[in-house]
C-alpha cells in the first residue's frame, strides 16, 4: 500500500469519491462547455466545411477553459480544513499525490469530452475526412498535456491570494505549444488536408517532458510555505 502506485490509487479513489459526492468540478465544466458550444454555434452559424476548419481551435479552447475550473477545484478541496497539511506531515511521497491529482483531472476532462463530443458533432455538423482513429490519440495526449501542467501550476498558485486568476496566467502561456499541436492535429484529421503525425509526436514529446519536469519539481511545490 505504501508504494507510489498504492498511494496514488488510494488518493485517486478518495478524489473520485469526493467528486462523486459533490460534483463540483464536473458540473461547472459541463455547464461552461455547453455554453461555449451553444454560443459559438449561434454566433457564427458555420457551414460543415467552415466547421471543420475552426472546430479544432474551438473544441480545445472550450476544453482548456473548462479544465481550469476542474484544476482549481482539485486543490481547493485540499485547502479546506488545511487537509493538505495532513499529507505534508505524512511519510507519503509527494509524487503519489501529484499523479493521483493528474489522473483524477484526466478522468474528469475525459468524461467531459465524452459528453460534449456528440454535441459538438451535432451543433457543428462535423465529420472527419482524415483518419478518425487518430482523434482519440490526440484527445488523450492533449488532455494529458492540459492536466499535467494545469495540476502543477494550480498547486503552485495554491497559496496566492488570487489563485483563480493566477492559474490561467501561468498555465496558458506554457500550454501554447501543446494547444497549437492539439488544434493543428485535430484540424488535420477533420479536414484530411495534411497528416497529423508531426503534431501527435510533438504532443507526445511535450507530455513526456512536462510530466517528468512536474514530477521532479512537485515535491518542492508541496513543501513550500
Amino acid at each position: 500500500m505504501s508504494t507510489i502506485a498504492g498511494l496514488t490509487r488510494a488518493t485517486l479513489a478518495k478524489d473520485l469519491r469526493l467528486e462523486w459526492r459533490s460534483k463540483d468540478a464536473i458540473n461547472s465544466m459541463l455547464f461552461f462547455s455547453l455554453l461555449v458550444v451553444v454560443i459559438f454555434s449561434f454566433s457564427f452559424d458555420p457551414t460543415a466545411e467552415e466547421s471543420r476548419q475552426i472546430a479544432g481551435g474551438l473544441v480545445w479552447v472550450a476544453f482548456l477553459f473548462a479544465a481550469v475550473v476542474a484544476l482549481n477545484q482539485t486543490w481547493a478541496r485540499e485547502m479546506r480544513n488545511q487537509v493538505l497539511d495532513a499529507y505534508r506531515v505524512s511519510p507519503a511521497p509527494p509524487n503519489a499525490l501529484f499523479l493521483a491529482k493528474v489522473i483524477g483531472n484526466f478522468i474528469f476532462v475525459t468524461v467531459l469530452q465524452a459528453l460534449m463530443t456528440p454535441l459538438f458533432i451535432v451543433f457543428y455538423n462535423l465529420r472527419a475526412l482524415g483518419p478518425a482513429y487518430q482523434l482519440p490519440i490526440v484527445a488523450a495526449l492533449g488532455t494529458w498535456a492540459l492536466v499535467v501542467n494545469g495540476t502543477f501550476f494550480a498547486a503552485m498558485s495554491l497559496r496566492t491570494r488570487s489563485r483563480e486568476v493566477m492559474l490561467p496566467l501561468l498555465l496558458f502561456p506554457i500550454s501554447i505549444p501543446a494547444l497549437l499541436a492539439m488544434v493543428e492535429a485535430t484540424g488535420a484529421i477533420l479536414t484530411g488536408e495534411f497528416s497529423a503525425k508531426f503534431w501527435i509526436v510533438l504532443l507526445a514529446a511535450y507530455d513526456l517532458v512536462f510530466t517528468i519536469a512536474s514530477l521532479f519539481l512537485f515535491g518542492f511545490v508541496l513543501q513550500a510555505e
Binding site: 500500500m1 505504501s2 498504492g6 498511494l7 488510494a10 488518493t11 478518495k14 469519491r17 469526493l18 459526492r21 459533490s22 478541496r77 479546506r80 480544513n81 488545511q82 487537509v83 497539511d85 495532513a86 499529507y87 505534508r88 506531515v89 505524512s90 511519510p91 507519503a92 513543501q223 510555505e225
Partner: protein
C-alpha cells in the same frame, strides 16, 4: 536520557515579522508539555516548525535524535486548529485514507480503536462536515493518533469542545504520556491541563520566557 525534542536558536521570519526569535529548548521524552501564551506569541509557529510544516529561517530542530524531520515523520502526530479532515467523507473513510499514507497495519481495527479512544462511534456514517465542532476536534485527534506516534503536536485541541469532553481528552492525553509519548499541547485553556501537564511552557513575542511545573507559579509571577 536523550531529549525527545531539541530546538536550537530557532528563528522564523514571515517577511519582516519574526514569529520565533531564537527559541532554544530541550524537551524530555514521556512528558506532557502545555505551551501557553497570548495570541501572536509564536506557539503555533513553533508547533508547525516541529511538525516540519514551517521550515525555520535559522536554527535547528532535532526530534528523537534526527535533524531531518522527514526521517522521523512516522513518529509525529499533528493536530492543527482546522480539522485536517475531508468534510464530505465520514470519520472512518477519512481515517482509512490517512492510515494508507502511514501504511498502518490492520487498518479497520486501528481506525475503529482510535475513534473509540476519542469517544466517538466508528459506525457513524454521516460526513464529518455534519459533525459538531467538538466531534470534529475529537475526530481530528483520532487522526493524529492513527499512526501511534511517539511525539504528539496538538494545536488548540480543546477549542469549542465542552468541558466534559475536554476533560476526557486530557485524561486520554495523560494516559498516552504515561504510555511513553511526548505530547505538546498549544492551548489557551491552561487550567484544563492542570494536574495533567508535566510542564507549562510560556511564550511571549516569539520566545520561551519561562517553564514551570505548575500553572500557579507563573500566574503569581505575572
Amino acid at each position: 536520557m536523550l531529549p525527545a525534542v531539541t530546538v536550537l536558536d530557532l528563528v522564523k521570519q514571515f517577511g519582516r515579522f519574526a514569529a520565533l526569535r531564537g527559541v532554544s529548548a530541550e524537551f524530555a521524552p514521556s512528558r506532557l508539555y502545555a505551551i501557553l501564551g497570548d495570541n501572536g506569541a509564536g506557539k503555533t509557529t513553533l508547533l508547525r516548525a516541529l511538525a516540519g510544516l514551517t521550515p525555520p529561517t535559522r536554527g535547528s530542530i532535532s526530534i528523537l535524535g534526527a535533524n531531518d524531520l522527514r526521517s522521523v515523520c512516522r513518529q509525529l502526530g499533528y493536530m492543527a486548529h482546522p480539522s485536517l479532515l475531508y468534510d464530505e467523507m465520514s470519520g472512518m473513510e477519512n481515517l482509512r485514507y490517512f492510515a494508507g499514507l502511514y501504511d498502518v497495519k490492520n487498518t479497520e481495527q486501528r481506525c475503529s480503536d482510535v475513534i473509540r479512544a476519542v469517544k466517538l462511534d466508528p459506525s457513524l456514517t454521516r460526513p464529518v462536515g455534519q459533525y459538531s465542532q467538538g466531534m470534529r476536534q475529537r475526530m481530528s485527534l483520532a487522526r493524529a493518533l492513527l499512526n501511534d506516534p511517539q511525539i504528539l503536536l496538538l494545536d488548540e485541541p480543546f477549542s469549542n469542545v465542552d468541558v466534559r469532553s475536554a476533560r476526557e481528552m486530557v485524561s486520554l492525553l495523560a494516559g498516552l504520556r504515561d504510555a511513553g509519548k511526548t505530547i505538546f499541547v498549544v492551548t489557551h485553556q491552561a487550567s484544563l491541563l492542570e494536574g495533567a501537564a508535566d510542564e507549562f511552557v510560556w511564550m511571549e513575542s516569539g520566545q520561551i520566557v519561562s517553564r514551570t511545573p505548575d500553572l500557579a507559579a507563573r500566574m503569581e509571577a505575572r
